[in-house]
Symmetry: C2
Subunit: 110 residues, 2 copies
Amino acid sequence: MLTPGLPLYQAKAEFFRTLGHPARIRILELLSERDHAVHELLSEIEIEPSNLSQQLGVLRRAGLVLQHREAGEVRYAIALPEVRALLLSARELLSGLIDEQAELRAQLRS
Amino acid sequence: MLTPGLPLYQAKAEFFRTLGHPARIRILELLSERDHAVHELLSEIEIEPSNLSQQLGVLRRAGLVLQHREAGEVRYAIALPEVRALLLSARELLSGLIDEQAELRAQLRS
DNA sequence: CCATAACTTGAAGACTTCTTCATGTCTATA
DNA sequence: TATAGACATGAAGAAGTCTTCAAGTTATGG
């Protein structure tokens, strides 16, 4: 929700917690490729419809995605282009972590 | 901890949850400037010593920070340079969100 | 060797977040 | 205007996370 007047580091933490769910990550990744209707997301993500709605609600309230109705379906889109960059950043950090852990394991073996 | 064999989107979610705490964000921000001893972090962050230790433990187990003992104090350092880039990415997204919300509020007023 | 400073740890209760269920809304179409 | 399809919502129990407390390490100085 990005409550105004909050210290920045607290807003950041809140924001990261919003990303801290596997379904929400998948939603954002799918949406950063292109817009999707809810039933399209549903066929890509293994999750119950009501659960998907809940997670979409979290992303919507956080201001990360936008919803609109079109031809009898509800479509979702990324609200900000920066989301893509952030997910990329995260991917790079993750592979850094994996390398680091591989090194640690190698050191343990030797 | 970055459990191996986990789907990538789940590892990502886990990773973002690790960042989803105000104290942990502050720790990473301070450490991405320079190494700090625990008592130095303690004087910058308003938090109980045992709580700080807990949060440092979370970051350590996630492989984001490194610990070492030196001259009677315990010092922490960022484990990966990518952390800095990610925090920057997050900052930009956050300011994008703030702008977006300001626009929404402006539209509501008019 | 004892005391102290600097940290860490495990455990427990308070608090949040998740998932699911039942129900509700909205829209197109027969 | 009834019906069905496509989503959303509120509530509730289960599961996870936070903070703090008491107790434990580890090294250093007296």
